[in-house]
Amino acid sequence: MGNLKVTYTDVKGETRIFDDVEEGTSLMELAKRQGVEGIFGDCGGGCACATCHVYVDGDWFEKVGPPDDIEFAMLDMVADVMKDNSRLGCQIKMKPELDGIAITVAPSSGF
């Protein structure tokens, strides 16, 4: 059990707070473990699909930083729902600097 805090708003708009997140856990893994709606993580955290797409709220994006080229290529495949603060949850690992981070699950691409 860790002690880092994550505020997760799921794809239906429901907000849940997790305050026992361990360092090193990715936001995708956390969502899968907790059943956060809208996060699927099909590829298992390999940055090879875009089913753990999240928006990083407010100033937290500065701390998280932008996606690298490989991650951007995946986000670009869901361009219709991509925003400036888009990231893949599997590529954000929790660490003390991100304690308190707030994120929102992006809607599915393309219907």
Binding site: A73, V78, A79
Partner: protein
């Protein structure tokens, strides 16, 4: 009583033309002509009967994108384990299994073709070998392999794009990745065909036994390699799989059994080979038959974003894996159609990617589609292709090297003479003679 995936949701059926109705009534995916050129059959199903019982195949064909998505998102109701293992050597599986027990070191069920929670454990043990970042590190080496291969045929001015480029290309890469022996390539090609044939439902008994003999040879070979790596690990994927372990949240450590590892090495060798070769064969097909494609590829070859999108649109437009199986474990209503318990189903990715409600003008090759990631060419849900990053990379590097080294690529036979491998599982060109000039 049937359970209902989503009771409220029944989407419209559309009126069919007389020709479409006839195709729906008489058509079957076991017909080789339909297998080769299936789009009219798919269209008729998508419009009029989106989850269609194909009597010739004794299988329910799921053809609309939304229904494929729903089915693949429910891996418990729609079992891959049963869908895959029961269609394998269909009607003859006892004989198939016994043959492998006697001649092939054992019958090793495909550990990855399983259902959660077992499947979740297997995926976790395999995933590290396949991340996009790991694959990116392989790019220079993959480029070298592909560049050398294309250079070896560039001066000839003609070749078979499938047999001389696509097939050896993907085999050479997987031989390197797994750490197999150089010179084993022609055997791998035969083994791949045999494994794919076992799930195609198109075999006679004699063919099944011939294919089983190939699979036995394959298993004996990989078991030998795995024993070597067990004793002495190297920097290759066989060593990764033989020694794979993950630590659970509660501190317990998971490993693969030897039987599981055999099945996974076999699956990696075949899945990472045949399907990617098909994708590259199909790339030559579209470059030589679809107007403007060669020019489009040439114009974007140095634009990484557009090239990634080109590859993804190619996977949507010509998915190498046509359809994969599920078995429905209880009476279930999907989008108004009741699928009985025990029914065999095929998720027809090829049709889902052509669904005009998701991809407008689906036959148009459009690299700017904003929802490209929604295509089902790699499947989706917990069974989404594990080698997706490697497949993308191989197709991308192939596209780049084709443009760098060849020009004026033309089909050397009429389109109507292109023949396809007789299988419902993939849409694979058997042979594609082309001419070209060295750039």
């Amino acid at each position: 009583m049937a359970t209902q995936a989503d009771e409220a949701k029944v989407s419209d059926r559309l009126p069919l033309t007389a020709d479409e109705q006839q195709l729906l009534d008489k058509g079957t995916l076991t017909d080789r002509a339909i297998q080769a050129r299936p789009r009219p059959y798919y269209t008729a199903m998508r419009k009029g009967d989106p989850i269609h019982y194909d009597a010739g195949l004794n299988s329910w064909l799921v053809t609309r994108h939304e229904d494929i998505w729903a089915v693949q998102s429910d891996p418990i109701t729609f079992s891959v384990n049963k869908g895959y293992h029961e269609i394998q050597a269909r009607g003859m599986h006892d004989e198939f299994r016994n043959y492998l027990r006697t001649h092939g070191g054992g019958y090793f069920p495909d550990a990855i073709m399983s259902d959660p929670p077992y499947h979740t454990r297997i995926r976790k043990l395999m995933e590290n070998a396949f991340t996009a970042h790991r694959v990116k590190e392989l790019e220079p080496r993959i480029t070298q392999v592909v560049s050398d291969l294309i250079a070896s045929v560039a001066d000839k001015g003609h070749c078979d794009a499938v047999k001389d480029i696509a097939v050896p290309l993907t085999i050479r890469i997987i031989v390197e990745q797994l750490g197999l022996d150089q010179g084993i390539e022609s055997k791998i090609s035969r083994w791949s065909v045999a494994v794919t044939a076992q799930i195609s439902a198109m075999q006679t008994r004699e063919q099944m036994l011939e294919n089983a003999a190939q699979i036995a040879e394959l298993q004996n070979y990989i078991i030998g390699k795995m024993k070597e790596r067990e004793a002495e690990p190297r920097e290759d994927m066989i060593s990764d799989l033989v020694h794979a372990q993950v630590t659970n949240a509660d501190g317990t450590v998971e490993k693969l059994t030897f039987e599981e590892a055999v099945s996974l090495v076999r699956a990696t060798l075949i899945a990472g080979n045949d399907t990617t070769a098909t994708a590259i064969g199909n790339l030559f097909y579209v470059l030589t038959t679809k107007p403007g494609m060669a020019e489009l590829l040439e114009s974007i070859i140095d634009d990484d974003r557009k090239l990634n999108r080109f590859v993804e649109e190619h996977m949507r437009n010509e998915p190498p894996v046509r359809a994969l199986s599920r078995m429905c474990v209880k009476d279930t209503v999907v989008n108004g159609t009741t699928i009985p318990e025990g029914a065999h189903m095929l998720l027809v990715y090829d049709s889902g990617n052509d669904d005009e409600t998701v991809f407008p003008e689906p036959r148009k090759f459009d690299i700017e589609r904003s929802n490209l990631g929604r295509h089902v060419g790699f499947g989706g849900g917990p069974h989404r292709c594990i080698g997706v990053a490697l497949a993308r990379m191989e197709v991308k590097v192939a596209a780049r090297e084709i443009v760098r080294q060849l020009k004026d690529i033309k089909l050397a036979i009429p389109v109507s003479e292109i023949s396809y491998v007789p299988t419902v599982a993939t849409h694979t060109i058997e042979s594609l003679p082309i001419t070209y000039e060295r750039r």
